[in-house]
Symmetry: C2
Subunit: 216 residues, 2 copies
DNA sequence: AATATGAATGAATACTCATTCATTTTGTGG
DNA sequence: CCACAAAATGAATGAGTATTCATTCATATT
């Protein structure tokens, strides 16, 4: 019937097919969850909200994800995979030198597809529950370790290549990683006062200062 | 009755008086709220939890704060005031030079009374709702501006004092502020892998690199 | 065209939780 | 010691919400 078709087509669904494959629906529902959390917060997002955002019916989440807890876990997992994909792709595409790769990663963290207030709101919503929801902590910790190792290796390569004494790769890794997290927070809290180029200056000022031979 | 007295004395209450002044109860309830949020998360903390943590009755929060929303707003306000007090006190106590003051502030951010996993969990819980709860954003933004101004002034004084060209005070301010926020997140997510001294090394590596004359 | 499959619905259920308020307890000024 | 006001209680209320499930519907298969 015309009304039902219109209603379905209006929201989210790519095809006008009323039924989609399991995987398509799961992706659609995760996307709706991200939107809802960024809009209403993780505490006030109900399964009804998610279903409505997706243009589907009340019981749909439990049908595809069994529980709200599950939906949220998989949403975090999705965000983490999404970030990892961009990280890996950046690492691969960037020029051969470690210094180039490191700079490319830092720039990636501030480009719109990563440093997007909607996504950041969801990341911080999950981080805000890390201490009380062990699953969230495990997921975040596992991925973080990977980035730490990768960045650390790049820093070590730069240190070995250059003539840098008295600075440890881990120290630089810690400083850089925490700087991007903190810049994201400042964007979340003060979107008006945030400027990507100014933020990048902060990162760049550090890189130039510790690795002058490589970033002049 | 003995049982009631024991129960009351066991939790939080400083005096054995069964009734406290309005202000005492409010402080007690805010303290209980912080404990609950750090334990259960902001989304799962109920007024019943808070009352129980305080060793008081179900309706107590509405009696003293009128609503849950109000309690949470005042809890964030309390955390912000608590941080501000430490910030101001640090600024006052630290040696006269701007470089000393700046270093003292950075050290403060990593000392146990500030960089405490329970408090950080609550801070991040509120930050996680900043985008969806305008009140939280306003409170955070207002305080942040103050710290930014103070740190910026210190950086400018150091730049003027030393022979530093081509670095802006705001850039250093952004880098330092975001670094501490990010280090807090790494402590929250990976408490095992966190070490205050290592974290301080990251901050110090930046200070030495940009202001070599002042931090050698 | 008839049938089978599983996706989707949405009303009903069971439960949680913020808020209210009638009642009890406690402190204080007369 | 009494009476009154303030503080505190905790059972009751009702709004909201995750989950269930009997039923409907779209599509693929025969």
């Amino acid at each position: 019937m015309a009304v039902a078709a219109l209603k379905t087509a209006a929201k989210g669904a790519k095809s006008s097919r009323r039924t989609a494959t399991r995987e398509e629906r799961r992706q659609q529902l995760i996307a709706a969850t991200i939107k809802c959390i960024s809009k209403k917060g993780i505490g006030s997002t109900t399964l009804g909200d998610v279903a409505q955002e997706a243009g589907l019916s009340q019981g749909i989440v439990n049908l595809h994800f069994a529980s709200k807890e599950n939906l949220f876990n998989e949403t975090l997992q999705f965000l983490a995979e999404d970030y990892k994909a961009q990280f890996d792709s950046t690492l691969e595409k960037a020029g051969p030198e470690a210094a180039e790769k490191l700079l490319a990663l830092m720039e990636m963290d501030l480009k719109p597809s990563v440093c997007d207030r909607q996504k950041l709101a969801v990341w911080f919503a999950f981080w805000g529950e890390v201490k009380s929801v062990p699953t969230y902590q495990k997921i975040c910790e596992a991925y973080d370790r990977g980035y730490d190792d990768a960045i650390n290796a790049l820093c070590q390569a730069i240190i070995d290549d250059g003539n840098y004494k008295s600075i440890s790769a881990q120290t630089v890794t810690d400083a850089l990683s925490s700087m991007t997290d903190g810049l994201w927070l400042s964007y979340l809290v003060s979107p008006k006062g945030f400027d990507r180029d100014v933020a990048m200056d902060a990162v760049y000022s550090y890189l130039r200062a510790v690795f002058p031979e490589h970033y002049e």
